[in-house]
């Protein structure tokens, strides 16, 4: 059995933002199993090239939109169209609140769209809430080849 099943895949190109997010997650006790991808390509590589075992599939993907190489929406499309990964909840966490981004994201099947607040307090709260919601409250979909491991179900 692989220990520490992956909880969150965080896809964000800005190291500062990554640090802030991890800080917030840590404060919310949600940062134990977090994988960071710095751009879309890394994210896809992570999900498709190495994702043999169910334990490697994250429970939640936090996806920024503005990414170099392969941008957020493309990652979203790719992930949601592949049967291996399409059930993974994806929350877009981005600075932009542009309507067209929101619309497109939902059209591609995103599970949630959250605008990162500028104020850090609010940002921290947002991260905590969404982490709690998706990792603790939400019933995660069972992985295709996974047996129910105790770490996932609460």
């Amino acid at each position: 059995m692989i220990a520490d099943p992956l909880e969150i895949l965080l896809v964000d190109d800005s190291p500062a933002d990554v640090d802030l997010t991890l800080y917030a997650l840590r404060q919310a006790s949600l940062a134990s199993r977090v994988q960071v991808a710095r751009d879309g390509e890394e994210a896809l590589d992570f999900l498709f090239q190495r994702g043999a075992g169910a334990a490697q599939m994250p429970q939640l993907i936090l996806l920024d939109l503005k990414l170099p190489k392969v941008d957020g929406l493309s990652v979203l499309r790719r992930v949601k169209s592949d049967p291996r990964t399409q059930t993974i909840p994806i929350v877009i966490l981005t600075s932009s609140k542009e309507e067209k981004d929101v619309v497109k994201s939902y059209q591609l099947g995103v599970n949630s769209y959250i605008q990162k607040p500028v104020e850090f307090d609010k940002f921290r709260e947002t991260v905590r809430e969404l982490g709690r919601y998706w990792l603790r409250f939400n019933q995660s979909p069972p992985w295709p080849c996974a047996s129910a491991s105790p770490g996932h179900q609460q």
Partner: protein, 598 residues
């Protein structure tokens, strides 16, 4: 007398031989002059007879009586014919004037006898006297006979009284006739006058007719279009005006030999044969006239001329006449062509402009997109790390350091608001209005509810009037109320009893809505840029704000075609009036300055 007497006193026969014998021999034998003289002497002074004096015994009284009487008689007998001759001469019209001549002769002869009677008293020229008497007898017998023969005829001559009567009658008749003649004349004059009048009238009418004809002819001739008349039976032109000659390039005489089909190309531009298409149009014209239709003619030079033709049937009892008006629309077609070209150009240009605008819009979109992403991220990071600094390293920092970091943090927050507001403003400009009849009261209720969620504003007293339904974009109008009410709330927070009134007043062109508060107000002197971006009338430490809220409100209302204005004075609250659909709106009654109830 003495000579006569003495002469007469010699008795004795001197002659006994008849002078007539001598006379006969004078006549026949052509006697000598001496014999003639002797004859005459014997006739006039015979010496063988006794003068009458002897009968009278030469009593002087008796002789004088006879001599004077006979002389008088002879004298008057002589003068009477003269008178008669004069009379006949003068009155040549007297019938039977020859009877007067007879009488004249007879009386002259009678006079002669009497004269000879007197002569005979002294000279016994009894053969002379007897001869003259015989002449006289002949004349008188003749005259008597003639007279008797003439008398019935003379009797038949109308008498004087009869004549006079006749004359009178004639006069009367003449008078009558004259009267009648006068009447006739006057009637005739009257008639003539009337005839003259009638003639004048007729002439005038004729003149008018001629003028009218000329006028109409002129109308036809000077009409800007070609006018033709043709008969259906022959198919040839019966009449045309000068313009038609010009249009078809043929003389009148030539045109009168042909018809409309001959001055058209065999096939019309739309492919129909001219003869058939023409018949079709003619048939329509007979039925009830045609609207103008396009037709291509061909003139004498072979040039095709696009025309606009309209047919109408002319009233005629004998023929089927069609009047056609033909307008050369070459220029018009050319103009149409030009218009089409220009339109195409215009559309092309519009398309160009539209694409330019679209490009500009897209640029703006990508700009705002970048802004929304790229500006916020660093802000957040600055904010985040400075907060972490404060939290994690607070104890190690001096209070001044902490204070500085705090200010860094709040600056980033402020900038975040600015970015949000600016993006909002830009977005409003781009979005098309989604107009709907909206219940503003519902909108206001929602906004108020949101505002009331802030605990600071629980004490605000809301007074919301009944608002009309308006045609607007509900999302944008919500923003208008959100901004205005948020402002009202913000600026009346210092008050003890903040009151906010929302209502509507009637305007000339539609309802005017207002939001009034009893807050701190502002000085109108500095308010000319009230609705501009970033312009603030209060300091940041008094009231926070980006200075974009009113600009957004103004932009939204502008997009709707409405208007907004404000009235305020320091410490007396502020009132914002706006109309949604009519930029001409102004309140009927200028709003009084507010008196704070607080």
């Amino acid at each position: 007398m003495r000579r006569l007497r003495s002469f007469a006193g010699i008795p004795g026969p001197r002659w006994t031989a008849c002078p007539f014998q001598t006379q006969r021999s004078l006549l026949t034998a052509g006697g000598s002059k001496k014999e003639r003289m002797q004859f005459l002497r014997h006739l006039f002074l015979p010496d063988n007879f006794m003068p009458h004096g002897y009968c009278y015994l030469w009593a002087p009284g008796l002789i004088w009586l006879h001599a004077v009487s006979d002389s008088a008689i002879a004298l008057s007998y002589m003068t009477i014919p003269v008178t008669l001759v004069h009379f006949t001469r003068k009155r040549r019209d007297v019938p039977f004037s020859w009877i007067f001549v007879c009488f004249g002769v007879f009386i002259v002869a009678c006079g002669m006898t009497h004269l000879l009677e007197v002569y005979s008293i002294w000279v016994p020229a009894y053969w002379l006297a007897g001869g003259v008497k015989a002449l006289t007898a002949a004349a008188s017998v003749g005259t008597a006979i003639l007279l008797i023969r003439v008398t019935p005829r003379a009797l038949a001559l109308p008498g004087t009284t009869w004549l006079l009567d006749l004359n009178r009658k004639l006069s009367a008749e003449v008078e009558q006739r004259v009267r009648a003649e006068n009447e006739c004349r006057s009637i005739s004059e009257d008639l003539e006058r009337r005839v003259a009048e009638r003639t004048a009238e007729l002439e005038a009418a004729n003149q008018m007719l001629r003028e009218s004809q000329l006028r109409y002819r002129a109308l036809v001739e000077h009409a800007p279009e070609a006018i033709v008349v043709f008969g259906l039976e022959t198919g040839a032109f019966l009449d045309l005006n000068t313009k038609a000659e010009q249009l078809f390039g043929m003389s009148r005489a030539e045109l009168l030999r042909v018809g409309p089909v001959e001055v058209s190309p065999p096939v019309q531009p739309d492919g129909r044969r001219s003869s058939e298409a023409a018949m079709e149009q003619i048939r329509l014209a007979i039925e009830g006239g045609t609207p103008p239709f396009e037709w291509t003619h061909r003139n004498a030079a072979g040039l095709d001329i696009p025309c606009e033709v309209s047919f109408v049937r002319l009233p005629s009892s004998t023929h089927t006449l069609i009047r056609g008006s033909v307008v050369d629309i070459t220029a018009r077609k050319h103009a149409e062509e030009q218009i089409r070209t220009l339109n195409a150009e215009l559309e092309h240009r519009v398309a160009q402009r539209t694409s330019e605008l679209e490009t500009a819009n897209r640029d703006l979109e990508s700009f705002t997109y970048s802004v929304s992403h790229d500006l916020r991220a660093p802000l957040r990071q600055v904010n985040g790390f400075s907060k972490i600094l404060i939290e994690d390293f607070g104890p190690q920092l001096s209070s001044e350091a902490r204070h500085h970091l705090e200010r860094v943090r709040s600056a980033t927050v402020h900038m975040g608001h600015l970015v949000d507001d600016l993006l909002n403003l830009a977005r409003i400009g781009r979005r098309p209005l989604a107009l709907r009849r909206t219940d503003l009261n519902a909108l206001v209720e929602e906004v108020v509810e949101t505002l009331q969620s802030d605990p600071r504003d629980r004490g605000v007293e809301w007074s919301i009037g009944l608002l009309s339904l308006v045609e607007c974009d509900p999302g944008l109008m919500r923003q208008v109320f959100a901004n205005l009410l948020a402002n009202a709330v913000k600026f009346s927070r210092p008050c003890e009893h903040p009151r906010i009134y929302i209502g509507e007043i009637p305007g000339e062109f539609g309802p005017i809505f207002f939001v009034r508060d009893n807050g701190v107000g502002f000085d109108l002197r500095y308010a000319d840029k009230l609705f501009s971006v970033f312009h603030r009338l209060h300091r940041d430490d008094e009231f926070e704000g980006t200075g974009v809220g009113l600009a957004i409100v103004h932009r939204i209302l502008q997009k709707h075609g409405g208007a907004i204005w404000a009235e305020s004075s320091p410490q007396k609250g502020a009132a914002f009036y706006f109309s949604v659909n009519d930029s001409r709106a102004r309140p009927k009654v200028p709003a009084a300055s507010l008196r704070g109830d607080a």
